[in-house]
């Protein structure tokens, strides 16, 4: 026994040591197999599978993909490793500007100057805003290049139960005034006008979407673009808190909040009971079960709500309405939720060329249609004007409503390459500075969260804490 132990012990020791040492090394990637890591969220994962299969069939390149809901925290390590395990990363909240500055991303100029499999110029397929947003001047080499491709264009606003509307003879509101009267009618019918969730994994920020749209209408898109630069009146970032002046540049956002306050904040009967503490599941269930007529949401509503109910189909027609306008004579506006979602290619990828080829494939008509079909509503950030979507729209009313929003409204984004945004988290800055949203607080205590009081707090907070944001952004 003792003799055997003498032989076995060193072997065990060697195994432990070699295991430990092997763990320290980095696996070499097999070239030629494209590897994608993508955020597993409201779009699901079926679209990746379909598009990857189609790409593999078209190009002959193998595609491997991994869904991960914590991708944002993993990208950094991959990009800075010797060999990234993944060639393409697809997610929201990727700090791509910072990665580009540090030379960690592949330059995608070839992609933008290239052609899709349909023979279209890639640049013609990309939405103008998306191309502009993806073009970034790196501090490292001082040159501007394309470093990302936007994933979705998206929409945000009110998702509604179309059958319930038909059943009660309610018209889809086109103005804020009509929305106000509609809510009164819905509440009279003992149905909850809005289901929303402020507790647990809070989604109170879904209210931001209609507010942004009202803000855009009141302020105009040019002003909004200037606002998102976050420079002060004197043109410096140091006084960027000027943008939160409720009597100045933030006046119209305050007005948008006032509209919300008058409609929802002072009418608890228009929301589910104690919405400020309600969980997302409960809000989703209220809508799914027909107890609530509307739910503020993003483009991923149908897929996500269905998934939360065990993937059971809705037993009614779901649609997203164009957000009712402030003025009847104005255009409709759509906040492109998810426009900040990115597809980036690791510079340390052994398959950069294949990755670029895949991104070009994503712009193809086939991929664009597949995405809408499999993600059940969301659209890629490419031009759909010459893609025949009639069959998908006829088959799925949610897709139809989304198509109408994207093609019949003024689409805009708040995404910005301002150093204040890229040096901090965007949700920490715009538009609710310090990530302090007041929807929940207002439901809990409306009298202390009137528009005047809230925006005084917002401005004071911005002014008092602005220096910290500038220090993070390394701007004076």
């Amino acid at each position: 026994m003792k003799k055997n132990a003498k032989k076995i012990l060193p072997i065990i020791g060697l195994m432990v040591l070699s295991g430990a040492l092997a763990a320290c090394g980095e696996d070499d990637r097999e070239p030629g197999v494209l590897s994608i890591m993508f955020y597993n969220g409201g779009y699901g994962d079926e679209w990746v599978k379909e598009i990857a299969d189609a790409y593999a069939a078209e190009s002959g390149n193998m595609v491997d993909y991994v869904a991960d809901s914590t991708i944002a925290s993993k990208v950094e390590a991959q990009l800075t490793s010797k060999n990234s395990e993944y060639d393409i990363f697809i997610s929201h909240d990727l700090n791509w500007q910072s990665y580009a500055n540090r030379g960690l991303l592949a330059n995608l100029d070839d992609v933008y100057n290239g052609e899709t499999i349909d023979g279209d110029k890639f640049m013609d397929r990309v939405l103008p805003n998306a191309a502009q947003l993806s073009y970034f001047k790196s501090d490292k080499d001082g040159e501007a290049h394309y470093y990302k491709v936007c994933l979705t264009q998206g929409a945000g606003g009110f998702v509604y139960n179309a059958d319930l509307f038909k059943e009660h003879g309610w018209e889809v509101p086109t103005t804020y005034a009509e929305l106000t009267s509609l809510c009164a009618e819905i509440a009279e019918a003992n149905i909850i006008p809005f289901a929303w969730a402020g507790g647990g994994d809070t989604r109170d920020y879904y209210w931001d979407y209609p507010l942004y749209e009202w803000w855009a209408e009141l302020d105009g898109l040019d002003n909004l673009k200037t606002w998102s630069e976050l420079k002060g009146k004197d043109g410096t970032y140091a006084n960027g808190f000027d943008n939160f002046d409720p009597d100045g540049k933030f006046k119209n956002f305050k007005q948008a909040y006032k509209m919300w306050y008058d409609l929802v904040g002072t009418h608890p009967e228009y929301s589910n009971e104690n919405a400020q503490g309600a969980t997302l599941d409960s809000a989703q269930y209220l809508f799914y079960s027909g107890q609530a007529a509307m739910i503020p949401y993003g483009q991923w509503a149908k897929h996500e709500i269905k998934k939360s109910q065990g993937n059971k189909e809705f037993n009614f027609e779901v649609r997203m309405m164009k957000t009712p306008r402030v003025n009847a004579t104005s255009d409709y506006y759509n906040f492109m939720v998810g426009f900040g979602d990115s597809m980036i290619v690791a510079k340390n990828s052994p398959n950069i060329e294949i990755a670029k080829d895949f991104l070009k494939f994503m712009a193809s008509k086939l991929a664009c249609r597949t995405f809408v079909e499999k993600a059940q509503g969301p659209f890629l950030a490419f031009d759909y004007s010459d893609i025949d979507m009639s069959d998908l729209c006829a088959k799925d009313s949610y897709v139809d409503s989304m198509y109408k929003i994207l093609t019949e409204t003024k689409n805009f984004t708040l995404s910005s390459n301002s150093p204040i945004i890229t040096g901090n988290s965007d949700i920490d800055i715009q538009p609710w500075i310090g990530n302090n949203r007041y929807y929940k607080s207002c439901m809990a205590n409306p009298s202390e969260n009137t528009p005047d009081l809230v925006f005084e707090k917002v401005y004071n907070y911005a002014r008092d804490n602005w220096r910290g944001y500038c220090l993070n952004a390394e701007v004076e």
């Binding site: 003498k6 925290s73 700090n95 647990g200 990530n435």
Partner: protein
């Protein structure tokens, strides 16, 4: 030369030529933790230290502004939101060391004395320590939401408990503190009862025969003899100032009124400007280390360590 001497010389030669397998094993087993320390501790931490001398793009700072990140950390201390974050964090020192620990000490003593239903209390105290924080926060917040156990109870007094976790009500921070107190007790009680269980029975019986009351026993025998455990828990409690982040994050989200140093570092480290959280972490360590060591030395002076 005798045969025995010759054999002995041969053995010694053989020993010198071949290292014993057990020696190899011992070397390897010692090498593993050494490598582990070198790579996982030193390697990781040295990277964090180096990060403090880099800019937000993780490029080296110029030599004339090498300590810029440190200057920024101190400059940010004058910003209201940051001040509040530090104050929020310091509350956990008071909560963990001066509230949770003394209360745990009493509860641990009751369990140690095998009071009626002591076993049930043991489970009640221990349960929060063995369940994941995510589950506990969910259960805890659900109790106060519509449909929760406590919601109708408070509603009778006109109190809407669904507002308890909402920023601006002033109650949200109390809800986080109560949660930390509730879950912290189990951990402390578990370690303290283990410490008390080591006290020799003879000693307690002898004290009992001398007519020592339970209160005297608690203060003059139990506390001195479990002092090393109390000291350890006190130090752990102090570390809560820097380490508490999950509870406020899961209960109220990242809001100013409950944000802690740990939560700020956690949030910042999700981004790519890792120089900021690294510097804040290192500054906190530099400030905390002498304080923790000083407190430990001070606490060790109260009672002489007794071996039993």
């Amino acid at each position: 030369m005798s045969t025995a001497v010759v054999n002995n010389k041969r053995e010694n030669k053989a020993r010198r030529r071949f290292i014993k397998p057990t020696t190899i094993f011992i070397i390897l087993m010692l090498l593993y933790p050494c490598l582990q320390f070198a790579i996982m501790w030193f390697g990781v931490n040295i990277n964090s230290i180096l990060l403090t001398f880099k800019d937000r793009y993780l490029e080296w700072l110029p030599i004339d502004s090498l300590f810029k990140n440190y200057v920024n950390v101190f400059e940010k201390m004058s910003i209201p939101a940051t001040k509040q974050m530090y104050l929020n964090s310091l509350v956990y020192l008071v909560l963990n060391c001066f509230i949770t620990l003394p209360v745990s000490l009493f509860f641990a003593y009751f369990i140690f004395k095998k009071i009626y239903m002591g076993g049930v209390f043991k489970v009640v105290y221990y349960l929060p320590s063995v369940l994941p924080t995510v589950i506990l926060t969910l259960v805890y917040s659900s109790m106060f939401n519509t449909g929760g156990l406590l919601y109708p109870l408070f509603a009778k007094f006109g109190i809407n408990t669904a507002n308890f976790f909402v920023q601006g009500t002033g109650i949200e921070k109390w809800m986080v503190w109560i949660f930390c107190f509730w879950t912290g007790i189990g951990y402390d009680v578990m370690l303290l009862t283990a410490g008390m269980a080591r006290i020799p029975n003879d000693l307690l019986e002898s004290a009992k025969m001398d007519g020592v009351s339970p209160i005297k026993e608690f203060f003059h025998i139990i506390i001195p003899l479990t002092w090393p455990t109390i000291t350890t828990l006190f130090i752990f409690g102090m570390m809560g100032v820097f380490g508490t982040y999950l509870q406020p994050m899961l209960l109220t989200g990242t809001i100013d009124s409950t944000k802690t140093i740990g939560l700020q570092i956690f949030n910042d480290s999700q981004g790519s400007a890792l120089n900021n959280p690294a510097t804040m972490g290192l500054v906190c360590t530099l400030i905390a280390t002498p304080i923790v060591l000083g407190v430990r030395a001070l606490l060790n002076h109260f009672f002489k360590e007794v071996n039993f």
